[in-house]
């Protein structure tokens, strides 16, 4: 293990984290909802016996999220989206992320930011699980196979 100092930029990451934390707070303070992206997207695909406000707030939040790249690029150049994964692995990765987040009831936002912010043991277990699996998967694909 070595540290990649040339890519290391803790200040922008800290600042970005602070801003997305504020987004999380706005949603819970004014709408009473957790900013868990996988939960919001998953629930959007449910139509049976859903309460009145089921879809509206989710659509509004996701509209904000998806349009953030457009609004950001009005003021600043949008940073590169560098996806090196090949087509087949990309499909596999997407399915794993979709299925896994619904099975584990959350992702990096719901468990990692909201859950840990609420000091939830359940979210701590989930976060350790996906971080650990992430480290091991990277090790396998970047160092073991290659």
């Amino acid at each position: 293990m070595s540290i990649n100092w040339s890519e290391f930029n803790p200040i922008t990451s800290l600042l970005g984290g602070g801003i997305l934390g504020i987004g999380t707070i706005i949603l819970i303070l004014f709408r009473g909802r957790i900013a868990g992206i996988s939960g919001i997207v998953g629930a959007l695909m449910q139509f049976k016996n859903t309460p009145k406000d089921h879809h509206l707030w989710r659509i509004l939040f996701l509209l904000g999220l998806v349009s953030s790249s457009l609004i950001y690029s009005l003021f600043l150049p949008f940073p590169s989206v560098n996806i090196t994964t090949d087509f087949t692995s990309l499909i596999l990765a997407g399915v794993l992320v979709g299925f896994g987040t619904r099975m584990g009831s959350g992702c990096t936002s719901g468990h990692g930011i909201c859950g840990l912010g609420r000091l939830s043991p359940r979210s701590l277990v989930a976060t350790l699980g996906f971080m650990g699996a992430g480290f091991i998967t990277c090790y396998i694909f970047l160092h073991l196979i290659n």
Binding site: M1, I11, G17, G21, F61, V81, G104, G134
Partner: protein
């Protein structure tokens, strides 16, 4: 109306935060998960920036026990730990590392017009659908 505008702004702030933090660049995410290689610890600071703010917000609102508009909160339980939580999180983590994308950043990258992000999002929606509408019906029918 105000409530709906604020919901949109919440999503917008969340997305802008993800962009600034570096989370929407999969190469950066993989650099962060590659702790056994040339590790880039930057993204650890996303959590360090976000969690204290989320902590204060939740502390306040859980004490108040309702939203600012005095409407009910929808909060999931904190203690229930089962096999599904663990297996699901492990599956999610391996997919996350494979592409360098998790749900939020994938949707932001989709908005930026990345065709690869679009492929990922379609596969992600399929995975979610299979879990919620097929898998759950077969294994959790009772």
């Amino acid at each position: 109306m105000m409530k709906n505008i604020l919901t949109f702004i919440a999503g917008l702030a969340f997305g802008i935060g993800l962009i600034i933090s570096g989370m929407t660049n999969p190469a950066k995410v993989i650099g962060f998960l590659d702790i056994f290689g040339n590790w880039d610890p930057s993204l650890m600071f996303v959590m360090l920036g976000a969690i204290p703010i989320s902590f204060i917000g939740f502390k306040f609102i859980e004490k108040k026990a309702s939203t600012i508009f005095n409407e009910p909160l929808h909060l999931p339980g904190k203690t229930h730990i089962n096999t599904e939580l663990i297996v699901g999180s492990l599956l999610f983590g391996s997919g996350w590392a494979l592409a360098g994308l998790c749900p939020g950043p994938a949707l932001v990258a989709l908005g930026s017009g990345s065709s690869k992000a679009m492929i990922f999002v379609v596969a992600m929606l399929a995975g979610m659908y299979v879990h919620d509408h097929l898998y759950k019906n077969i294994f959790k029918s009772n």
